[in-house]
Amino acid sequence: METAVHGRGIRKDNPALQKVLRIIIWILLIALAAFTLIPFAWMISSSLKLDREVFAFPMRWLPETYHWENYSLIWEKVPLLTYFKNTAFIAITVTLLQTLTSSFAAYAFAKLNFRGRDVLFLCYIGTIAVPWQAYMLPQFIMMRSMGLYDTLWAMVVLQAFSAFGVFLMRQFYRSIPTELCEAARLDGLSEYGIWARIMLPLSKAAIATLVIFTFVNTWNDYMGPMIYLTRDVNKTIQVGLRRFIQQYSSDYHLIMAASLCSLLPVSIVFLCLQRYFIEGIATSGLKG
């Protein structure tokens, strides 16, 4: 470690100082967490208010009376359950396809040499850079001619092959030493074998990340479903939320209640997967 030699600092083993430092960090974290949670507190309180109380001056942190019925109202006013099911179907299918195909493609970009690699990769990034609003219309015309308009599959194919996943996985694969692959090649493993036996097990954290991101993005997408899905049986949760915003009136208390409900499934996915960030991966033998 050439760089570490420069480090002439004395290790600070002073336990009192360590303790003070730790306490400062904790205070900082708690303050930051509070800052993050304040809007949610307001959201929860608003979801229990009457419509006109939500924006009353001056603002009140607690509702006058608690309107728990708001949480049952949202299921009656719009077919929220259908929306949940549709969204879940799209999110799960997209996540599966996305994770599988992009981790596959990313291996080629990260560890294989082939002609046109860099150009192709820039193509991928280039499409991320073009705002969807610019190519939405050509895309829509094409999708309609394929008969995908107003079907859930429209949303699946639109989001399952995004460049984002490929880019993300490529970056993670690049941090895995190439020597590992070469050693495996010498041992007679095919490229597919390397991908399945070495890359996949080593990139658990990355895959968890991709799953979370894809799931969350698909779950919260609004513009796509708004344009592509029309019949009520096909709508998703984010489009459903906007149904509480009408031309001349909006029910913000119900929007808050429904938003909080839609937060649940995504939070569960996150909680389930985040252990992969703690356990880490066996790193012995990785050093070249």
Binding site: L50, D51, R52, F55, A56, F57, M136, L137, F140, I141, M143, R144, S145, Y149, M226, I227, T230, D232, V239, R242, R243, I245, Q246, Q247, Y248, S249, S250, Y252
Partner: protein, 412 residues
Amino acid sequence: MKKMLSVLLAAMLLLTAIPALAEDQVLTVVTWDATTTPYLIAQKEAFEASHPGVTIEYVDVESGNEYGVKVGTMLSGGDTSDVIMLKENDQVVNWQAQGFAAPLTDYIADYDMSGFVGIEKNYEIDSVQYGIPFRSDFWVLFYNKDLFDAAGIEYPSNDMTWDQYAELAKKMTDKEKDIYGTHYHTWLSTVANWAVCGGEYTLADGTYDNLLYFYKLYQDLEDSGACMSYADLKASGLKYAAAFENGNVAMLPMGYWLVSTLIADIKAGNASLNWGITAVPHADGVAAGSSFGNMTGAMINARSEQKDLAWEYISWLGGPEGAKATASVGARPAWVSEEVAAAMAAVDGFPADDNSKAALLPVSVAMEWPVGEKVPDIKTVVNEEHSLIMAREVTPEEGIEEMNERVAELLQ
């Protein structure tokens, strides 16, 4: 000759279409908030009752700015829905230019449009009619009778100048009781559109000096605490209906659509107040009872495969029969007549006083915005400068100077 022939042909088609009505037919109508808008429900019921065998199927698109985006995209993709409702006047211009709107020339030859008192011209492009209006909302002044009674001040009248109105608003303001004399929603129309009343001037003319008086009037009211501040309203997103229903706002200039909201909310027990409407105040030299408004209409999709049935529907919708269905739930139809006004006044929950009834028949209704090729661009500029004036980032004079300059550049 050719024209006569086509009229004949259309008439024949119409004749053949009538027996066809007896069979089960489904007419798809693209609209917004279909499940919750009372007049859409009433219209569907009335049309289906008088046209057995025809079912109206609404394609429910999100309201808000996305309506135009989504419907425009659908149409570009080759959508074949029969009738498209027009939320903004610009939409007919856009969609006609793209070839989505079926010309109505042949149909309107013997269709009576007198009841529209001229507003149907907004759907006319190069002397061809492309749409039929069915709703027309003009602006009125809502007021809270309870507050006026408590203060012992006379209700606002149908003939009031803007200066008198401002004076009244200040008189009604009671800071201790947290009562505001009036309320301005954050739109351009609530503050500046009054300049178009009377019909001599439109916001697309390119000069905006006429707006100065109204900005000064507003700022004077805001400074004296007679209305809530624009900045607060913008940030909080407080809705005008909620503001009025809270019961601490004495007057509210707003579109007629609020009537049905108020009636529904009071019926449902979400609000309790006594209210009335009068004509909006007028400027010196403009006749009392002049207002402005906007309209909602419907056009026939050029790709529709049952254009005659679609015409049957939109002509019914705009005409006296459809107007009655629209008026029956408190919305204001585009078709104006004593009969329709009576139907509007007869709605359960509409204020019973004569003043409110009189306000139902305005002397003239100017368009909030005219239609035209450059209008969308002008709208953007005027709205941008409006928000600067309202947030007090610039003085009204500076803002209007900018409007004049930037719009002049657009019109070059």
